[in-house]
Symmetry: C2
Amino acid sequence: MATTIKDIAKQANVSIATVSRVINQLGGYSQEVEENVLKIAKELNYHKNENAISLVKNVSNIIGIIMPTVDSFYYSNIVNGIEDAAKKHGYSVILMHAGVEGENFKSCLNLMAERRVDGIVAFSIFVEQEGVALVKSLNIPIVLLSTEAVEDSIPYIKVDDYSAAFEATDYLVRNGHQRIGLAGVSPIDPIAGIPRINGYRDALKQNGIPIEEELIYFGDYNFTSGKKAMEYYIQNDIALTAIFCVSDETALGVISECNKQNIIVPEDLSVIGYDNSKISSMVTPTITTISQPFYEMGNLGCESLILSILKKKEILSEIVPFTLVERNSVKKLL
Amino acid sequence: MATTIKDIAKQANVSIATVSRVINQLGGYSQEVEENVLKIAKELNYHKNENAISLVKNVSNIIGIIMPTVDSFYYSNIVNGIEDAAKKHGYSVILMHAGVEGENFKSCLNLMAERRVDGIVAFSIFVEQEGVALVKSLNIPIVLLSTEAVEDSIPYIKVDDYSAAFEATDYLVRNGHQRIGLAGVSPIDPIAGIPRINGYRDALKQNGIPIEEELIYFGDYNFTSGKKAMEYYIQNDIALTAIFCVSDETALGVISECNKQNIIVPEDLSVIGYDNSKISSMVTPTITTISQPFYEMGNLGCESLILSILKKKEILSEIVPFTLVERNSVKKLL
DNA sequence: CTGTTAGCGCGTTCAC
DNA sequence: GTGAACGCGCTAACAG
């Protein structure tokens, strides 16, 4: 058994109240007592019991993180951002994986409730009706990162995927590309799918370029989707000068297949990615991509969350700016 | 305030003891009472308070993870492995970052002690004397992943870096390479540095190849180290046919610089990496590399830890096997 | 300046 | 089958 204030009190010949006071530096005790108590605490290797404190204060100082189960290139940065903000305010962070598709989101929420976390940040998991209901019933502040809930019912922080996709596509057009593919996107994903498709379409439309449905190759944002997309374009003799890939992994897949087929990027085909993951600047050619500020989103999200916990303020949804990072995977035709 | 068993007891007209019994399915109550209590619990949206339970049971069901602050390609998989094992046994996972060099390891340990975690897994942080002392004083089971402590004083699970480096180098020799560089390694890192240098040296020695100190370019395992290494070899006219890079990132750096200088990998220069990170199979050429089973290490480490918590058994250090994954970045000269 | 006491939410005897 | 009462480690009045 670990030592308690009771042990210290006994040794120091004072009451537990006094021990509590000096340990929390509340004042109202003599110098002598303070030194003695502190000395004994150190001798006894005392560590306060946060669980007991949580119980009496009805506050756990724990932030819960719920994320999908993936080994993606960038998630670690979101977590870094969250943990930094949490630590700064004296919070610890508890982590749960909700499965690849976030299918265990609700069970994670329940566990979080049992741990009495003071707030929750969840990312990359779309929250549907049932999840929203549970969240509301739990009455725990929550913020979503890089995703949303149905009907805007939960505050979120994310980039505007529609605008980002629009910008990526428009960038290609501005550089002289006309026949532009879209690769790797999921048509049923309400967050990162549909808005990007719409952004792509509208950018073409606005530039007076006809939309050809066959230029869109659906997928799961991963490497394989990119490879398959490229195979598809080649097999069907779809001549493109550029492809907008919905993730850097997908871009890598496209480029990989190009290398195999002796298609040179960007000379023969331009590629633009999405995410600005670390690798995008490490490969040859370096990949032009849309950058989402992951660390900042994690940090900001957690800051807002803690503010809302402390001041009981509502969290405001926020659209954070993306940037288009120009590198070497897009050829300028003009 | 969240509902408690007291609230349920009142509503159900039973004592809190009875409520506790049915909630924990301990038996010793009538069917009627059980149904009623369960119904009311659901109505009141009851969630048990794990903090309170921790207090009375003197067990928190929390596993602590301490890791360096890095956005690396593979760390997420270690965490995945840990969390999966933890969840399987009903444990939650609390996460702390100890800084880039693990400099906050001790403060993390103290926080973990305050949370009364039942066990700790720490990875990629070398634990020196002071850390060991603290660990011992805390009396919390702990396991190290992919690292060690001074004097073997804390159980660990890792691959044999010496053997892996030996194998990587020997593989190059077996394929006909004679003048082989070593890039990106830290000469003062007792875990991933010195053993790999020794492995590299001994492999050469054993193959009757003279060791040239100038072929070793030190660094920090990252992309830049690789780029700089290649620049160094070129500027100093050091003609190599192969380079053993101590990480895939470093390999990427080497390859990146090669591309810039019109050196073709593997035709002009062979490269072998370390880590088998996801990207190594996504780039062109795909990178031959040493694979460490990160997910498995996390999973196994956490399993052993939990076993040690439950049965109070000692954790046994383990060397897990690495594999050399052959891909396309090494030219076979023979 | 210091001690006593009452909970925080829950599990657990020990009676009945 | 069920309830009263105690204690886990700690904070927060309140009393002196």
